[in-house]
Amino acid sequence: MKARNTVAHTAIHAVLGLGSLVFLFPLLWMISTSLKPIEETMRVPPQWLPSHFLWRNYYDAVMYGHKILGYIPFLEYAKNTLLLAALGVTGTVLANALVAYGFARFRFRGREALFGVTLATMMIPFPVLMVPLFGLFRGLGWIGTFKPLWIPAWFGSAFNIFLLRQFFLTIPRDLTDAAIVDGCSELAAFRHIIVPLSKPALAVVALFHFLYAWNDFLGPLIYLTDQKMFTLSLGLQFYQSQHGGTEWNLLMAAATMVVLPIIVLFFFTQRTFIQGIAITGLKG
């Protein structure tokens, strides 16, 4: 029995090890390519590691076209992405926390119906909303600005309202009741008692919105017109469409710069990450 267990465990490690290699290899290959001189990217059979680390590739990728453009494209993309993420995360956390608490704490007429409609809207695919939203934003003069990409976040989203409401329902009412009897307003009780208790759930919402803002491609593709206002995702695609197929080392350097911050963020917030993903799967 023991021997069989050892064999089984060795087999499991072999499969998981091989699997890890398959999953990690593309990322390692990206980094390796990003540090090679161009001629080493073209060798067959491939050269696994750069003969020396050519950090200049990163500089060249960041600076490409800055003389003609008059600005440093990837620096602008990074600034735009961070700005959109900051505005979006702030709005998402504030709005969804308020609304979700409203649903969790108060009874009011039509609450169940409104919540039902809210959940049902999660089924609606974005392409259904896309054309009228474009028309609406165009009417407001928002096309070619950042506004369509962050203002909606300040009005809440069905999924986050659902997620936070479930969390708020687990907090005993007595905690705020006492404060309210003492003359504290509901809003103040929410701010000073509920919010501090809800930090883990709010962190999940904030983190996921940050990822969304970093990742989003279709939104910027539709609403942004000026290259200087591109986000990293849109900028990387633009760079690829202009330079693809030749300077793979520079392209991989650009891709690495888009990927690496997210991986670093993951290592710093691993628990929130894993918890958040586990929660999103618990809806089922």
Binding site: P46, V128, V131, Q237, Q240, M252, V258, I262
Partner: protein, 292 residues
């Protein structure tokens, strides 16, 4: 007075969503349906034309091609994703040492932003200098032209997509770790082997999450856009990788046929609802909810 104050308090909390729901969801849903019955270019006011967009779509070869490509992609990517993610999660759940480390390795690709993922796989699939074909040649296989060959673009996209299934692995693993140990102990007493335990204990216990992932997978693959938009622009060659949403996007924002695009969006919506209902129905007898 007290009642009025409560109403105001409630409003203070939920008013952002009342506005958001109305302006950014309900209005667009209604308008989109109306536009789907219109000739609408966004530059000029919409003109009502009845069901003409829908009728035109039925005889639009590109529409059908997009739908077929999307169905093909879903038919391979969904089962493959399910097998890989569930298989790896089950292995991770055997109590092997280093579980957290393996889990991190499998999860990292899921963090890669989609545009970066597409750019990276463009390089790996490169026909001449691509590392994948070199690795295949070591196994004695002559790799295809991948993205240059219309027969291989969709399989290439399936492979790139499956690389990012880490999120499902984490979800499965979280649920697997919640399966009560006493169920396994009871199965041990009955003399159940490894497979019997998986079939009669593990799978039923995590079936709601499998269903959830399946439905999310259906919704996601039907709206597959970013990766093919970058890897196979216009679905070329031979539009073999031209997916439903790519055609919808082109209709809306390249040809400015916004009414036509809205009609496509509504057909997609109906397909999603129908498939979700079907998935719920077909699995109803097999999905086990605790407390039932």
């Amino acid at each position: 007075m007290a009642k009025r104050k409560t109403a105001l308090t409630v409003l203070a909390f939920i008013s952002p969503w009342l506005l958001g729901l109305g302006v950014f969801t309900l209005y667009p849903v209604v308008a989109s349906f109306y536009y789907s019955l219109c000739d609408y270019s966004v530059l000029q006011p919409a003109r009502f034309i009845g069901a003409a967009n829908y009728a035109d779509l039925m005889s639009d070869e590109v529409f059908w091609q997009g739908l077929r490509n999307t169905a093909y992609y879903a038919a391979f990517a969904l089962p493959l994703g399910l097998i890989v993610s569930l298989g790896l999660a089950l292995l991770l759940n055997t109590g092997v040492r280093g579980m957290a480390l393996y889990r991190t390795f499998f999860f990292l690709p899921a963090l890669v932003p989609l545009v970066a993922l597409a750019v990276l796989w463009l390089w790996i699939f490169n026909g001449e200098q691509g590392v994948l074909n070199y690795l295949l040649s070591l196994l004695g296989v002559r790799g295809p032209g991948w993205l240059a060959d219309p027969r291989w673009t969709k399989p290439a996209l399936v492979i790139a997509g499956t690389w990012g299934v880490g999120q499902a692995i984490v979800i499965y693993l979280a649920r697997l770790q919640d399966v009560p140990v006493h169920l396994y102990e009871a199965a041990d007493l009955d003399g159940a082997g490894w497979w019997a335990k998986i079939r009669h204990v593990t799978l039923p216990m995590i079936s709601p999450v499998i269903l959830f992932n399946l439905i999310m997978g259906i919704i996601g693959t039907l709206q597959y856009f970013t990766v093919p938009y970058v890897m196979t622009p216009q679905g070329q060659p031979a539009r073999a990788a031209y997916f439903y949403i790519m055609y919808l996007y082109d209709n809306a924002f390249v040809y400015l046929k916004m009414g036509y695009a809205s009609a496509m969006a509504w057909i997609l919506f109906v397909i999603i609802v129908a498939l979700t209902a079907l998935a719920l129905r077909l699995t109803a007898r097999h999905v086990h909810y605790e407390g039932q």
